[in-house]
Symmetry: C2
């Protein structure tokens, strides 16, 4: 079977499982590095494989703009395009287009937005977002959702949540149509009002693995809206996975934790849960403790490019003068390519002389740091020591602390 999830152990709400996808299996909990443009910024597919990542995420919005989904499709799909042969998930573009603020207008049919690349107006609808992801050919496609800002008032949060449910039905319908191989104009129209008579070469089965579609729970910071969203999603099911969106968008951490705790008992046990856009190291452990199986976040590579590295004790800026001449590894406890091959002093030197290798090496460490955190959590869940380990880990980890240097 192409899509499946085996739950192997639990420790409180924390879960260890295995996600089966057409391009491979993903032991969970797991962190997914973000491959914005079909590439994890600055890293090759081989670099990412060496971090131990088993699944990566691609951004539909960015790939739609460049190179365009038809190019990716004609080149054999995202896996062949990027050289990443393991599982891949694409977001729906919802989060990106709703972040454009002044550059988009929303209606029931979809979103009109201005490309940040060339200023052209474009249109994303549930059908188009599904079709684009179909062309990209990821293992997992996400439903197109209406995302509202972190502090959104109840009315707006409710509107976004309800619309996301209606759009989910349209995404599902379109996804089934594509999966059933109907390639007529109707199947490929952007939405009901525009037809797309231009024919398309049928995709050969060899170039296209099966794809599954996951829904997204919305509802802002309102517990009852979140529960209604979940209810509506389950009513439209079954699903092979369920995502939680619209968190880590400015609300306080305790609020995010409360929403996760509210949702947890109602989420089907035998389906993986994906917390979108999260997180930092501590967020991973807090999410795992509340039953989350999958995470993604750009912070690992964004911080890496700025020279900020995560350590078990907190974080460190690699540019710091204290690292000059240091022969210590960046993180003596880490097994990544960076920590096992170069010193802090060399990394600092790379940032001082502005060689891009520095950005790459710190990104590799940060990605490995989160991937390994998932691996460690999994091992602790399997051997029954997760809760104590998590508490000790979080006590030791001081996100704002810079370790004292001689």
């Amino acid at each position: 079977m192409s899509f499946g999830f085996q739950l192997e152990a639990t420790a409180g709400a924390a879960r260890a499982g295995t996600l089966n996808l057409p391009h491979g299996t993903v032991p969970t909990p797991a962190f997914m590095p973000v491959g914005t443009h079909g590439v994890v910024r600055g890293l090759s597919a081989a670099d990412v494989r060496r971090t131990g990542a088993r699944i990566i995420l691609g951004n539909t919005y960015h790939l739609h703009l460049r190179p365009g989904e038809s190019i990716v499709r004609d080149m054999g799909g995202l896996h062949r395009f990027t050289g990443w042969e393991r599982p891949m998930l694409t977001d729906s573009g919802g989060f990106q287009v709703f972040s454009l603020e002044q550059l988009r207008t929303i209606s029931e049919s979809g979103v009109e937005f201005r490309s940040h690349v060339d200023g052209t107006w474009r249109r994303l609808t549930p059908e188009r977002a599904t079709e684009i992801q179909w062309d990209l050919g990821a293992d997992i496609a996400m439903a197109f959702d209406h995302v509202v800002p972190g502090g959104a008032p109840r009315e707006l949060a409710e509107e976004g949540m309800e619309r996301t449910l209606r759009w989910l039905s349209r995404c599902r319908e379109e996804h089934e149509r594509l999966a059933n191989g109907r390639t007529g104009a109707q199947a490929h129209s952007g939405d009901a009002s525009t037809s797309s008579p231009a024919g398309r070469a049928p995709v050969r089965p060899s170039a296209r693995a099966p794809q599954t579609l996951w829904p997204i729970i919305q509802g802002g910071t309102y517990d009852d809206l979140r529960l209604r969203s979940l209810e509506g999603i389950l009513a439209r099911g079954p699903w092979t996975g369920i995502a939680i969106g619209g968190l880590s968008v400015g609300e306080p951490k305790p609020v995010m934790h409360r929403v996760l705790e509210t949702l947890e008992p109602g989420l089907p046990r035998e389906v993986p849960r994906y917390l979108m856009g999260v997180g930092f190291p501590a967020d991973l452990l807090e999410g795992i403790a509340r039953g989350v199986d999958l995470f993604d976040c750009v912070a690992a590579t964004r911080n890496g490019r700025h020279g900020t590295a995560w350590l078990p004790t907190g974080r460190i800026n690699v540019r710091g003068a204290a690292l000059k001449g240091s022969t210590e590894p960046l993180d003596p406890e880490c097994d990544c390519e960076t920590c096992t091959s170069v010193s802090r002093g060399y990394l600092r030197h790379l940032f001082v002389v502005e060689d891009m290798l520095g950005m790459r090496l710190v990104s590799i460490h940060n990605v490995r740091f989160l991937v390994r955190l998932g691996e460690q959590a999994r091992a602790r869940i399997l051997d029954g020591t997760f809760d104590r380990w998590r508490r000790e880990w979080l006590e030791r980890h001081r996100p704002s602390a810079v370790p004292a240097e001689p």
Copy 2:
């Protein structure tokens, strides 16, 4: 024996040999990638190893300014600093400081120059250049030479050549002093007029492999000056290698070829010859045909960062619209990491979205292209088919041509 060269075969003036150095052997002819700041720009030591490079070059001028030779020395030398365990050669800084033009003054004792990093005035003398390279700890150190511009008049070329010989004696004396372990103030003074009473921790033998010093032939484009330079060098020998400097600095290619042909018969057969700062692919083959064993040049990585890739048929700009959607490898004949893992269309996409991975992947290809050219030339020399192969290769290779694309 730490330093040695075995000549294995010749084909006309072309030579195949093996250079033995403390950190490994180097089959020749060979291209040395340039590691300006102790890093081949944008590439990790592992990346460079995967190109098949057996030796790289570090720039004394750049490493003296950042991080400073004392930092590198205290961190265990360039090999440990950079994670590159194979042989390494450092230039003397002569070429760089003489390139500063308005920012330096020359005297018999040495060169005063202004740092391009912080504007401070610094001093490089034969003794200092030797001492810095000793601290850096490369396998091969280069003598400090007076480099003159490409079109230099005879008088200036003669002055530079004669001074380079006098400086060679001072470099050799200083190098012997360092090698004999004399660590007193005299041994570490910048030059005779300044003493350096500050003590230095003796370097443990384990951190320091033996180092050899190579002289540099100067004399501009004047055959008789070149021969006098060679004569003066041989009189100050013996040497484990001899470099030819001051070429590929603006003079026409036929002039460079003539100088190489003039020198070739007088160069000791059993010593490797290193043509500094050369070359492009065709330059390698022309140099090999005229008896050169070693080359270095920044063009491979500089072109790579600009998206220009070498191909057997010429070169190509990876940004070109013609590459959009192409599933072909960059160079179908190449075995590098880039050509065996991604397509032209993906490389173009990386440059379009300005992901630094593109610069890295094209740099890897270009370095491998030159390393492989050395390997191919060696195989052809060994099997006696070098001359014909070289002629055919050069006929096919059109440096300015961009291959036609559909």
